[in-house]
């Protein structure tokens, strides 16, 4: 469809059909203030803040957030009527709003403050008592609610209902007595609850983990990638004085669509633990790096299969590559166990994996042997978007109830554990898949070990071929796919090894009794690390340079906000020096050198040699006919 020409405050612009006026205005640099509008939620026109005048149109102001552009439309945001309407609405919002700015965490990044300065009345005419509520109310361990500050834009309850398909957050009463509440005052349970903090345009929903920590202007932040699971949601990591103080979402429409789950948002405080390890130790006594690494090398070389190597789920591609070199060299024959990985095999190199963004375009989505809410939470949200906003059909093959059952139209085939492959083979003749009418998305997990994985993968492959679908293996480990590509995602048992090199948190099953020498690289003295003869202080994800490959195969680069200050060393540095201590001729000037070498050595990691792409230009938000 051809673009539509509109004039906004005298500025002409051509935008795609279906663009909302409020988005078109952004493109010519005009701010129309909004509270209830959010580009990821259905527009409602509830707060009335975005009133502007259109012609042709009725002689009254209309909401810019619910009106798509029309050919030849003339929008005026600065007429006396529109300016006064907006100022009046802001005044109404402030009637009951408490004078909390000095103690409110939102101050400094608060749309209510900013819009009042730019669009509101300069003086207050409000006199008289305000509405009072008990405050703050803990909605969960991580989120606090302040009902007095709430402007009832309903972004939080709409997000919960539209995006997460849950209603544990709801509105009680009506009219001016309305308030946001968790169901029957019980703590919020959802793994997606934290996003309401980012959505809330005022300080009503705040993070308890970050409460009273810092003002926005005291922090710096870097655009990085979450380290908690294989989805690789883009995040902003905020630091202040060398502490990681908060994690917020950074919109990447290809992967996370602007959301992150609570694991990524709140599970970071261990990074700031004052008990963090900072110097290498041999048998409890402080040592230099050189001595420590020599001790490690002596302890692990020449052991062959008597050496065990434990790797964490969030090992970076660069670390994985270096481990590959060590395992091909002096550590040949060692038993390798990567923790937190699934039983899924490496993806076949010639077959293209389904991309997360492509889930939205699928007509039928099949999820096998996985409760995605647990395994890859943000992919779960993308599936919900495809079903509720794009009309996709959903089939789940799983022995138990899953979160996607919230939609009564979900076809849930309950297989006996172990027989998922058989059920998948029957699906080719299922009513919904006989003529899907478009692409089919097939996502499969490992059923947490209950399924025979090779056969399951094969049956999914056959189904994809039969119905015109693409596959996505649901890895759980953050960089499971990258580690598989590097060949270090081991699955060996560590029982019986005499030497153990533990990289990251200690093995979850405990240290095997046979271990006589253990070297550990970790940032906390976790249970198990006390058995280590050599303890190397690790950097955390907030300091880590490197990259992850997410479950769809996209390589993403981390950008840490916190520097690695001596005596800490970067992980690739440590591995390089360890290799030298083991007699290898390893010499890398920096991480880029490692990335270039890895890119040539491992086909799946060619992206490492390319510089990260620039931030894409913002896309105007479309509704209606522009989408099929």
């Amino acid at each position: 469809m051809p673009d539509v020409n509109v004039t906004i405050d005298g500025r002409k612009i051509a935008v795609p059909v279906g663009t909302l006026v409020v988005e078109a205005a952004k493109l010519v640099g005009i701010e129309i203030p909004v509270f209830c509008y959010h580009h990821k939620l259905d527009p409602v026109g509830a707060c009335r803040l975005c009133l502007v005048e259109f012609s042709p149109g009725p002689p009254r102001p209309q909401t810019a957030c619910t009106t798509p552009v029309a050919e030849g439309m003339v929008v005026r945001t600065q007429t006396a009527m529109a300016v006064q309407a907006r100022a009046d609405i802001l005044e109404f919002e402030l009637v009951n709003h408490p004078l909390d700015c000095p103690v409110c965490d939102k101050g400094g990044e608060c749309p209510l403050q900013d819009f009042t300065f730019r669009h509101g009345y300069p003086t207050s005419r409000i006199d008289g008592p305000r509405l009072h509520f008990k405050k703050p109310i803990p909605l969960s361990e991580n989120i606090a609610l302040d009902r007095e500050r709430c402007v009832l834009c309903y972004r939080c309850t709409r997000y919960y209902d539209e995006v997460a398909w849950e209603q544990e957050l709801t509105t009680g009463q009506r009219g001016v007595q309305s308030y946001i509440t968790s169901q029957f005052d019980q703590p919020l349970q959802s793994i997606f609850s934290g996003n309401i903090i980012d959505l809330c345009p005022v300080g009503a929903l705040t993070s308890r983990v970050w409460r009273f920590e810092s003002r926005p202007w005291d922090m710096t932040h870097t655009p990085s990638v979450c380290s908690k699971c294989a989805v690789g949601c883009n995040v902003n990591l905020w630091q202040r004085r060398g502490q990681l103080v908060r994690v917020t979402s950074r919109e990447n429409n290809d992967i996370d669509d602007g959301w992150i789950c609570d694991r990524g948002r709140f599970d970071y405080t261990d990074v700031n633990d004052p008990e963090r390890l900072r110097t290498p130790r041999i048998a409890g006594a402080r040592a230099t790096w050189a001595d420590a690494l020599t001790a490690v090398a002596n302890g692990i070389k020449g052991k062959g299969a008597k050496l065990g190597v434990s790797l964490p789920k969030d090992i970076t591609n660069e670390e994985a590559f270096l481990f590959r070199r060590l395992l091909d060299g002096p550590l040949k024959g060692a038993k390798v166990k990567m923790h937190g990985r699934t039983a899924l095999p490496a993806p076949a190199p010639t077959i293209e994996t389904l991309r997360i963004k492509e889930i939205e375009d699928a007509r039928v989505i099949v999820v096998v042997a996985s409760d995605i809410e647990d395994d890859a939470p943000i992919v779960n949200l993308r599936i919900k978007k495809a079903v509720s906003k794009r009309g996709a059909k959903l089939i789940v093959v799983h022995p138990d109830g899953v979160d996607l059952d919230r939609d009564p139209n979900t076809v849930h085939i309950r297989n006996k554990p172990g027989s998922a492959a058989a059920e998948v083979r029957k699906l080719a003749s299922h009513a919904l898949l006989k003529a899907p009418g478009g692409p089919v998305a097939i996502l499969f997990g490992d059923g947490h070990g209950s399924e025979e994985i090779v056969d399951l993968a094969k049956s999914c492959r056959e189904l994809a071929d039969a119905v015109g679908g693409k596959l996505m293996p649901l890895y759980r480990g953050t960089n499971e796919r990258g580690a598989l590509a590097a060949g270090v995602a081991g699955w060996d048992s560590l029982d019986g090894v005499e030497a153990l090199l533990s990289w990251g948190p200690p093995p979850t099953a405990g240290i095997p009794k046979s271990v006589k020498f253990m070297a550990a690289w970790d940032h906390l003295m976790r249970p198990g690390n006390e058995k280590a003869t050599v303890m190397l202080p690790a950097t955390t994800f907030a300091q880590r340079q490197g990259s992850y490959t997410n479950l769809e195969g996209t390589v993403q680069f981390l950008r840490p906000p916190i520097e690695v200050d001596p005596p800490l060393k970067e992980s690739w540095e440590v591995l390089t020096e360890l290799g030298q201590a083991l007699g290898m001729a390893l010499d890398y000037a920096g991480i880029f050198a490692i990335q270039r070498e890895a890119a040539t050595a491992i086909p799946a990691l060619t992206a490492l040699a390319q510089p990260p792409s620039t931030e894409p230009a913002p896309e105007p938000v479309l509704i209606g006919p522009a989408h099929p």
Binding site: R48, D88, I89, L152
Partner: protein, 439 residues
């Protein structure tokens, strides 16, 4: 004739109420045999193409009787009968506008008249299923409509082949649970979908995306109850009554300080003086009319000096008021306008759904300001706040008409009775005789 408080029996302007009062009129056999009931449905189903039915309604110029007064035939025409998939007729029986009881009058006296209208409308717009949303407090009308529907089903007028026509028709009921806002079209649809009743942004309009996302025709009870007469007598006959832009008759519930409150069928174009002083007997002995609401509490007030305003929509618009729901509330000179306005603002604030900022906050701010004024704590500041709130509630600021109505109460009482406001706010007195104990 039984004791009905309103119009009944034969009269040139008794189109709807002609047969009210007939014993057992609520029974299908009486409705059919004694009053010519279900003839219009037979004609519609078996003799007329659906487009012609809509055409007849258009010809009649009938306007919606719920409050907005939108041309009914035009509304029926918005539904694309040939679009695939189900369509619905939704009957707005939520009647909660203060001063309005005409829909209750129809449902209690002649439920089959309403059912007949619904069925004809459903056939005309291509719907097979009608949903009647009836307010939860209407226990007796609910029982009577349930009974009437089962009679119609038993007779084969509702079902897979009504009157032998291969076009399934059914009517289901859905009960409201106490929210005035459900009288608003899109809020009603939200409530029907089992949600908190908050109006939707329009477009899309219900004719395109209504109940459960399907094309929907929403009409008021009285509007649909008028349909059988129009089909039986022709749209051209309906136009002969009333005025050019407001043809026909309408039921007006007259209440408040009058001797004969009741639901009267009135030819549009009659004066309010006729309705209030003649039909409803005027104010009690020794009192005189001070102010009246011509169309429910949401219609801007008119002072007694404007009693000769006629009841048609055009005249009311020219008088800066509206026809609204036809609920005429009459207040005599023994009552205080400020207290009445305060009570109405309390109503609007209580019924506000809370979705849009100006109505949610403004109506409550107005209530608190009225309270101050009535507690003799007022001043010029409070008057200014009321004016400013009224301004903030109107002209597209709010998502639906509830906010506008609240604004009109303040605006219109200020316009015609500024003295009384100033008495309370500036002089801390009330110059009216008997004052209600609390507003």
């Amino acid at each position: 004739m039984p004791d009905l408080r309103g119009s009944f029996g034969e009269a040139p302007d008794h189109l709807l109420t002609r047969w009210f009062g007939t014993p057992d009129l609520h029974r299908l056999e009486v409705y059919e045999s004694k009053t010519g009931g279900y003839k219009a449905l037979r004609k519609a189903l078996l003799e007329m193409p659906p487009a012609d039915i809509t055409g007849e309604i258009k010809r009649s110029g009938l306007r919606g009787r719920g409050g907005a007064g939108f041309a009914t035939g035009t509304k029926w025409g918005f539904i694309n009968r040939d679009a695939p998939g189900p369509k619905y007729v939704v009957v707005n029986a939520d009647e909660s506008e203060p001063g309005t009881s005409k829909d209750r009058y129809i449902m209690e006296n002649s439920p089959h008249l309403l059912l007949e209208g619904i069925m004809i409308a459903a056939y005309a717009v291509g719907a097979n299923q009608a949903w009647m949303y009836i307010r939860g407090e209407y226990d007796k009308p609910y029982r009577m409509v349930v009974e009437a529907i089962s009679e119609a089903r038993a007779k084969g007028y509702l079902g897979p082949k009504p009157m032998g026509k291969d076009y399934p028709l059914d009517i289901q009921l859905y009960r409201g649970h106490g929210a005035y806002i459900c009288g608003e079209e899109t809020a009603l649809l939200e409530s029907l979908e089992g949600k908190r009743a908050q109006p939707r942004s329009r477009p899309p309009f219900p004719a395109v995306k209504g109940a459960w996302g399907r094309p929907t025709l929403l009409n008021n009870v009285e509007t649909l109850a008028t349909v059988p007469w129009i089909l039986n007598n022709g749209g051209a006959e309906y136009v002969k009554l009333g005025t050019e832009k407001s043809p026909g008759t309408r039921l007006m519930s007259v209440s408040g300080n009058v001797r004969k409150p009741g639901v009267y069928e009135v030819e549009l174009g009659q004066t309010f003086r006729h309705v209030i002083m003649e039909l409803a007997g005027g104010p009690p002995e020794g009192r005189s009319v001070k102010v009246f609401w011509p169309g429910g509490s949401s219609a801007p007030v008119l002072p007694a000096s404007m009693l000769d305003t006629t009841t048609d929509m055009e005249a009311l618009a020219a008088a800066r008021s509206m026809g609204g729901s036809g609920g005429v509330i009459v207040m005599d000179d023994s009552h205080c306008v400020v207290r009445a306005a305060a009570r109405l603002l309390r109503f609007y604030a209580h019924e506000s759904c809370g979705k849009c900022t100006p109505c949610r906050v403004g109506s409550d701010w107005a209530v608190r300001t009225y309270d101050r004024i009535l507690a003799n704590e007022g001043s010029r500041v409070e008057l200014g706040i009321l004016e400013r709130v009224a301004d903030g509630l109107q002209n597209g600021r709010c998502l639906c008409g509830l906010g506008d109505s609240a604004g009109w109460v303040i605006d219109s009482t200020f316009r015609h009775f500024r003295e009384e406001y100033e008495d309370h706010a500036l002089r801390h007195t009330c110059n009216v005789g008997a004052v209600a104990a609390h507003a």
